[in-house]
């Protein structure tokens, strides 16, 4: 992903994984004259940017929730496989109560076994040896945790851009209010000086 525009004054990224960075404005007056925008158009532009950021934030938060639910699931699977592996040598069967349907449980007798079946999704279940299953699950767990880290960093970057945009909107608005106030005062001052 290449960044086309020159980076902001802080030497920061101009975009991150498709999220455009909000350019920090050193001086409101210079920014407005350079961009040729009047205050209202500038405000509208930044408000729209803010909305776009919010949409992306919702998407990322949903992805984060999914990952945060997935990780404990994988950890539970690892625990079960580990328990079965621990029992391997002993030759005893493991008795387990499992849910057949909501509120209905049944007893299962799990014999000493070398293999487990893993649900891979998309109606596919594969049989693995305990070692392979552990390796696969650990790999999935690492990937999920890494994805979550990247996602959290994305969210932080996004929130920074939202903050910068909100501050910009406030500054442009305040500058505009200030300008109007000055314009109001100046004519009356000139009139008083002339009279």
């Amino acid at each position: 992903m290449s960044s086309s525009s020159p980076s902001g004054s802080g030497g920061e990224l101009t975009e991150r994984r498709g999220i455009p960075a909000a350019k920090f404005i050193q001086d409101v007056e210079t920014y407005l004259s350079q961009s040729g925008l009047d205050p209202n158009s500038a405000l509208a532009f930044h408000q729209e940017r803010l909305q776009q950021y919010k949409v992306v934030e919702m998407k990322l938060l949903a992805q984060q929730r999914d990952l945060q639910a997935k990780i404990p699931d994988i950890e539970k699977c690892l625990e079960v496989v580990a328990t079965l592996e621990a029992r391997k040598g002993t030759g005893e069967a493991l008795l387990a109560d499992f849910e057949v349907s909501e509120g209905i449980y049944s007893r299962a007798c799990i014999e000493d076994t070398d293999s487990v079946c893993l649900w891979l999704g998309a109606n596919v279940m594969l049989e693995y040896s305990c070692d392979e299953a552990t390796a696969l699950l650990k790999n999935n767990l690492e990937n999920a945790k890494a994805s979550l880290e990247v996602l959290v960093a994305d969210l932080q970057f996004l929130r920074d851009q939202v903050t910068v945009t909100q501050v910009t909107i406030a500054r442009v608005y305040n500058w505009d209010v200030h300008q109007r106030r000055v314009k109001q005062v100046t004519p009356t001052a000139i009139a008083a000086a002339d009279s």
Binding site: G10, L95, D97, T163, H178, V182
Partner: protein, 129 residues
Amino acid sequence: MQQQGSKSGSEMEVTWEDQQNINTFSRLNNRFHDLDDEIKSAKEKCDNLEDAGNELILADEEMVRFQIGEVFAHLPRDEVETRIEEMKEATCKSLEKLEEEKVSVVSQMSALKKVLYAKFKDSINLEED
């Protein structure tokens, strides 16, 4: 006499450093709320494990049903006791770490608040609404 455009309270210069301080404060605030939630759930888990441990002592069955994943495995009482102890220790340790992080975040936030309020006085609001 013509009134010069004086710098009133609403015309405040915001430097890149100020913006970065505001961004950092926002990040810390978000982390603070996340930490609060995490601490709450860790405390709950700790309490549950504590209760489970106590129930176990009171119960006199030899085989206890211990939840592993989605199933309840029949395990001997000693094994269950050991597992609960391990889980309790792990949860308490992570709770401690979370509390420590929270203290650090709170202190960083108050330091930033001082800096930002000094510069912006009334023009900025850093309180929870």
